[in-house]
Every structure is written in C-alpha cells, then in structure tokens.
C-alpha cells in the first residue's frame, strides 16, 4: 500500500467529517447515543459508551467551523488538481 501524505490527510478529513455529520436529534437520540442520555451520575469513572458519546459531541462542537474551511480548501484542490 503506497501511502502518500495527501492520502493520509484526505482519509483523516473524511473520518472527521463522518463523526461530525451524525445529527444529534434525528439520529443519535433514536439509537440512544444522545449526549444528554449518558450521564449516569457523578459516581465512578464513565464507561466506554459515555466516553464515546462525549467524544462525538466534543468533535462536533470543536470542529464545526474549521471543518467548513478545510473542506472548502479540499474541494478547491480537488477541482484544480484532480
């Protein structure tokens, strides 16, 4: 498998896009992965499911605006250089 750096960046961009487009109301709540459905109390350490839900919500919050910019750059580059 020949990995160029650009291929790696494209794969990372696609993965982050995937995590960001999971809609909170239409999709995650229906499968029980909404961000406010996982807080089981201030007891012991959170389990893996609540960690995952926290991760999805934080990725969505943090990466919303930068992803718009990076996606636009990627689209322009793809249009120009194929």
């Amino acid at each position: 498998m020949a990995f160029t750096l650009y291929l790696l960046l494209q794969a990372a961009l696609l993965c982050v896009n995937t995590i960001t487009v999971l809609h909170e109301e239409r999709f995650l709540k229906n499968i029980g992965w909404g961000a406010d459905q996982g807080i089981g109390g201030f007891g012991e350490e959170p389990g893996i499911k609540s960690q995952l839900m926290n991760l999805i919500r934080s990725v969505r919050t943090v990466m919303r605006v930068p992803l718009i910019i990076i996606n636009s750059i990627a689209i322009v580059l793809l249009l120009l250089f194929g």
Partner: protein, 293 residues
Amino acid sequence: MAYHSGYGAHGSKHRARAAPDPPPLFDDTSGAYSSQPGAYPAPGADVAFSVNHLLGDPVANVAMAYGSSIASHGKDMVHKELHRFVSVNKLKYFFAVDTAYVAKKLGLLVFPYTHQNWEVQSSRDVPLPPRQDLNAPDLYIPTMAFITYVLLAGTALGIQKRFSPEVLGLCASTALAWVVMEVLALLLGVYLATVHSDLSTFHLLAYSGYKYVGMILSVLTGLLFGSDGYYVALAWTSSSLMYFIVRSLRTAALAPDNVGGPAPRQRLQLYLTLGAAAFQPLIIYWLTFHLVR
C-alpha cells in the same frame, strides 16, 4: 597597493625565468580600485577593498547583511511557533541516552524474558531520564531504527534489482503513516478506557517505535539466510516484542492507580494492552515481507 605591485613584480620575475605562461584566465582588476577612489557609494572604499576578493561589490555586501538578518528573524519565528506545539524540554527527556543504555535496551528488546523489575523509577515524582533508568522509554532508538529501516529497505530492494530513488521515499512515508495511525489508535484507546497514567503521546510514540528494531533484525536475517531465516527471526522478534510491550505497559503505565477499579474497565485496559501487543507482529510482517522474497 604596494602589496599588489610587489606581487606583480615577483610574478613578472618568475615569468621571466620560466617558460612563457599561458595568458591568465581572469584579468587582474585588483589594481583598478586604487585608481577610482570616488566611484563607490557611502558604505566606504575600505569595506569594498576588504571584500573585493569575495564579492567585488559593496552592494552585494549590504544585501548579504540584510539577508542574514532576515534569516535570523525567520529562525526566531520558527522557534517560537515550534515551542507552541512541541514542548522541547519534554522532548529532551527522551533523547537523554548514553551508549550503555542503548546497548542494554537493545538486548532487552531482543531477549526480555529474564528481566525482573519493569518499574519506571522516578525521583521526587519526576521520572528518571533514560540514562539512569533502563525501563524508561526513549525516542533515540526508535528514530535511529526508523532511519536504519528505510536504508535497509533500499539495500534489500537494490539486491533484488528493484530499486529506484522513489521507492525510498515511498517506504519512508508508508512506515511513517503506519506509525501515525498506530499512535492515534493507541491514544483513542487510552482515552476510551480512561486510563489514568502519565502516558503522554511521546511515550506511546516511543513504544510503537520499538518495533523497528525487530523489523531490522528480521530483514537482515532474511537477507543473510533466505526466506526461512526471515520467518524464524520474525517469529522470535515478534514474540519478544509482544512480551516487552505487555510487561512495560502493564507495570509502568496501567497498573498503579487502577488496581482497585471496576472489573469491566480493568478488562478493557487488558484488551487495550493485548491489542497493542498483537498489532505489532502484523505490522512487522506487513512492512517487511515485500523486502524478502
């Protein structure tokens, strides 16, 4: 000026004695500066005289000074930006090695079964640098092993007459991409399993870089002893690397605060360690089998 006339006189004396020389390739214009005192701008005729052997032009001297000031300014800017992303002091900890440590660590990577004490020692809550503690991870061995692996891959391909300069870059970037992916997967695993330890990114980078030593040994044995030697070395280095990773991660990073945790989390951490260890032979095989045919 007397220097030049004296030199010219000696030269003419030599020329009078020896056979007629071929005409000089360059015109000797060093005497011309003295006859044109007012032809140069403010930087000064003495500045022009002192650099005329190198540049012959005071404007170029000014440009050189300006360029060097720009370069130092750029260097300061790069240092500032670098310090924002990478803490250089933490990085220096990983490169504080000496020859004895490197030799013992390499021996440990190949034969870890007799090592008794795997704890990372720390003095006053600061982990000891690798120079004083054999169990401390370092980044020197992984870096050197990575470079050696790329060179060895080029050699192996050259022996099989499949070498071209692009292959070296391809090999290096492929291996680097796999390292980045493995470190990211380990970071994700550490976050999901809520491991409370001082495992920083550089620790994970160090532990995932130790597999390059195994790769180098496998490829060398494969080159010397053929395909069978390659598989034997692969099996040996894979098992010793798996043992090394499991022992190091369990005692140094995962054990201290988590002994009394709930059972599912302990199991998760165990799976993480075993998964990290099981991934090593796969990636060693994947990155080296095309070099030994």
